[in-house]
Symmetry: C2
Subunit: 212 residues, 2 copies
């Protein structure tokens, strides 16, 4: 039986989705449909996880006070990062737009419960970091299903993870994996912003592939 | 403009793909088309990465000697893991098939170069683990594009990562993220094997979602 996702047309569209799934930092401020947000979170629940541990936890960040705290944390961490560059690279870094925290109508902090009981430890004895990796796949699943709805996502990592966990008053043992901005993109591109800005270029496959 | 991935039909098929993208542990031994493998690795290159750092490195593991070394490492780590369970849980664990290492025609070890120069450190100062997270998304991208071609993938984490890096003689600083088995699945399911076997069940969304 050929399933709906095993057709050449689907495969071509999936590749197009992968090319257009960009990190978005410029959002329109109009709100997203709550049913859409719920749907994206349901999609994330379909992610694979080590030992079926499902260690992901999603925190919808809604209040202006908490959003301001996240922005302040980003501004400080970003200034510290800028101070680590010199000359032309510093000038280029300073011009980059590295988050959509000011505008994104939906913001979600994603955590991992490293010692989660679900899954009974299966697959995590020698590589406990696979719990966090499971959370990352949930984030990527959300990202792809968002883009298929015309919703853009940006992943902000220029943050102090412990400070964000504290500001959001999450339970002890929850570790920040990602802070996500979601909204309608104010512009659309099929190439990474950092490539267009001249920060870095993409590598060919033979630069990352080894045979043994 | 509506793109090919912004149609209701595509979205429905993407969800079906996400549901059917299982961790596969039972493979047919017939070889995969080399052009398909190349295509999956090219898809992985489209993954987002922190600062466009592209820290992923893929090692095709081809020789019987190296594959036997990986299997031996798995067998030992799996026996040690089994020894950590008692009673009924131990009996259930012992019955689980946790890797397709014996049969999978294609095996790829995936590494992260944590201190990769590409990307010039952008986004990694406060959360350096985002390099590994980028590699995880490349793995997930490969997983999804494989499934759309009818190719199954299994992620083996019951391994000693340093031992695998040593056996494969990778450069210093390459850290094992995943060991992947790929091939045609010998059976097909839309529910996780660990759920069918009664090891763990899936959580509802409200168990993992918090509002702030």
């Amino acid at each position: 039986m050929t399933r709906s996702f095993e057709t050449p047309a689907f495969e071509a569209a999936l590749w197009e989705l992968l090319r257009w799934r960009r990190d978005v930092r410029s959002f329109r401020t109009d709100p997203l449909d709550e049913a859409d947000i719920q749907s994206l979170l349901e999609a994330a629940q379909l992610a694979p996880s080590v030992g079926l541990s499902q260690p992901w936890r999603f925190v919808r960040v809604r209040t202006p006070e908490l959003r301001a705290a996240v922005r302040a944390c980003f501004e400080r961490c970003n200034a510290e990062a800028l101070a680590g560059y010199d000359g032309e690279q510093a000038a280029l870094y300073a011009k980059l737009k590295l988050s959509g925290l000011n505008d994104a109508p939906v913001q979600i902090a994603v955590f991992c419960v490293d010692d989660v009981e679900t899954g009974h430890g299966l697959g995590r004895r020698t590589m406990p970091e696979t719990a966090a990796y499971s959370v990352v796949i949930a984030v990527h699943t959300l990202w792809l299903t968002a883009r298929a709805k015309g919703i853009g996502m940006g992943w902000v990592s220029i943050l102090d993870p412990d400070e964000i966990a504290g500001a959001l008053s999450v339970p002890a043992g929850w570790r920040l994996i990602a802070y996500l901005c979601l909204g309608k993109p104010s512009a659309d591109h099929d190439s990474p912003e950092l490539e267009r800005a001249g920060w870095e270029h993409r590598l060919p496959l033979d630069a990352v592939l080894v045979e043994r």
